[in-house]
Symmetry: C2
Subunit: 338 residues, 2 copies
Amino acid sequence: MRASLKDIAETLNLSKTTVSWVLTGKGDAKNISKSTQELVRKCAEEMNYQPNLIARSLNIGKTKTVGLILPSISDFFYSSVAREVEENASKRGYSLMIASSESDADKEESMLRMFRSKGVDGIILAPTKQSKTEIQHLLKERFPLITFDRYFPELEMSYVIIDNKESSFKLVGHLIRKGCKKIAIITTNPHLATMNARVEGYKAALEKAGIKVNPQLIGNVSYDNYEKNLVKVLDTIFEKVPEVDGFFFTTHILALEAFLYFNKKGINFNKDFELACIHSVSTFEIMAPNINVAEMPVGDIGKNVVNILLDDIESKGKTKGVKGKYSIVLPCTLFLNQ
Amino acid sequence: MRASLKDIAETLNLSKTTVSWVLTGKGDAKNISKSTQELVRKCAEEMNYQPNLIARSLNIGKTKTVGLILPSISDFFYSSVAREVEENASKRGYSLMIASSESDADKEESMLRMFRSKGVDGIILAPTKQSKTEIQHLLKERFPLITFDRYFPELEMSYVIIDNKESSFKLVGHLIRKGCKKIAIITTNPHLATMNARVEGYKAALEKAGIKVNPQLIGNVSYDNYEKNLVKVLDTIFEKVPEVDGFFFTTHILALEAFLYFNKKGINFNKDFELACIHSVSTFEIMAPNINVAEMPVGDIGKNVVNILLDDIESKGKTKGVKGKYSIVLPCTLFLNQ
DNA sequence: CTGAAAGCGCTTACAG
DNA sequence: CTGAAAGCGCTTACAG
C-alpha cells in the first residue's frame, strides 16, 4: 500500500499537522524542532512517501496542471509547440494534459469541459472552429484560457499568433521580385482569421506590384480529406491558368502534399516555379531547396503562451477582477533565396 | 462561481445524496421519482453544473487519466503514437497526461513520480535508459505500467515492441539480394535491447549470405547531439570503406539526417546506394523513392498499449494479485522496392 | 422514495 | 514546540 501522512504520523506518534508542515517545507517557519523534522523526513523516505496530490488539489483548489488542446498532436508544427509548452510549463512546476481535437468542434467542446472538470488550472487552445459557447462559459467564469495560432477576433481573451499578413506579404513580394507574374495561393480553412490574413497578405503584395488578383489562382482546399481536395484544386489551376509560375502555400502541410502531387505528375517543381510557404519542415532542405519560407517561431510561441497563462493563473486573487488580456503577434523568420 | 452538488441540493431542497445519484445515472436504480430526476437535471443544466472530478477521484481512488512519457514529443514516430494513444484512451473514457523525458533518465524518474503523485491510474512509457529504480517501486506497488518501443528484458512487466531482429534481417537480406556487398549499418543507443536486436538482424542477414561482418561498417552514433556525431560516423565509413554500397538505418531520424549529409556532400545517394530503414516519414517518397522500409505499426502499437494498460487498471481487485503480463511483438509492414 | 453521516488524504486557521 | 478539528466536493453504505 501507498503510505499517507497519517501512516507517518502514527509511526512517529506525531500529528498529521506536524508531518504535513515538515514535508511541505514549513518546518522552520512553524518552529518544528530540527530533530523532529529529521525524524519525519527519514520516515517519509523509508516509507517511500509520495504526497497524494489529488487530496492536496481538492484542498487548495489548484492542480498545477494545464490543458493543451491541439487540432492534431501528430502534425509537426503542433507537436513542436507541444514540446515547448511542456518544457516551459515543467520549468514552472506544471504538468500537461493533452488532447487532440482532430479539427472536430464537438470534440473540442467536450475536451474543454473535461479538462475543466478534471481541475486543470488553465487551458491552452489552438481552436478549430467557432466552438465559442464553451469558451464563453469559461471566460465568464474568469477561467484562465489562451489561444495560439488561431484566435477569436470578437472575444476578449489572450492569444499568441504570428504576423500572418506581414509574412505573407513579404513572401509573395519576393516571388514577384523574382519575376513571377502568375502566383497561385494554396490555402485552407478560410473561416479562420489566421488564414484570412495570409490571403490578404498575398493580395496586398500583388496589388502593390500592380498585378490584378485572379480568382482562378486562389486555391481553397477544404480541410477534411485535404489530400484529395488538393489534387482537384491543383488540377483546376493548371487547367485554367497553365502559365502559373509561382506557388504560395499558407501551410507546410499543403506544401508537402503538393510536392507529392507534383512528383506523381512528373512536374519538376523546383525548376518550373518559384515557391513560398508559411512554416517549413526540415525535409524541405532536400525536397525544395529553393523554397522561400516564413518560419514560425515555435519556441517563442510556446514560451509566451505558457508564461501568459501561468501569470494569469498565479495572479488570481491578487489583481481581483482586473485581468490583463494579451494579444501577442510574433514575427516569423524569413528565409528568402538569393 | 462554479456550481457544486450542494448548490443544486440547496436550491431544490434535496440532499446531496439524491442529487449525486441522479446526476451519476443511478436515479432509476435508487428509485428516485421521475419528477425529482427531471428537476435535478434541469437545475444542473441551468447552473451549468460540471462535477468536480478531483473530489470524485479522491473518493473513488481513480482519476480516469493515464500518463504517457516519451523520449521526445516532437519526433514524428512518438507524436504519431501519442495521437493513437490519445484516441484509444479517449474512446474508453480516459484522458492523457503527457511528458517528454528528452532522453534524460533523471527527468524520466521524476516524471514517473509526478504522474503517480498526481494520481494517474496507469503509465505508458517509452523508456530512455536504465531508469529502473522508480519503475521497480511502481511494480512492487502493482501500479499499472507498460512500456513500448523499448523494454527491460530483466523486469517482469508488459511491453509492446516490434519484431526488430526479423524486420532488420529481411531489409538487409533484400539489400544483399539486390547486389550489395558492403552494407553499412547506422545505429544509435546501443544500450537499448530494441536497438541491439536491429543490429543482430543486420548481422544475421550478412552471415546467412556468407558475408563477413565488417566492424568498420557499423556506425554507432551517440545520441546526444546526433546530428554532429552522424557526420563523423559517415565521414569515417567513407574513409575506411569507400566501396560501401548500401546503408541500413535503424531509425528514420538517422536516415533523414544522413540524407541532409549526403546532399551537402553532393552525393547522389539514391543512385549510388541501396537504402533501407526501420520506419519512415511521408517525405521519403520524394527524398528517397527507392528506399526499402519496415514500417512500424503505429496504430497497432497505440491500440495494444492502451488496451493492455486499461484492462490491467480495470481488472484490479477482480484478479487479486494475479496480474497478466503481456509481451506483444508486432510485425512491421515491409515496403521493398522492385 | 429520500437523507444524515462518514470518509477519501490532504492543508490550515485556531488554540495552547 | 505541537495537536485537534474543520473543510475541499464528491460517493456510498446505512437507516428509515
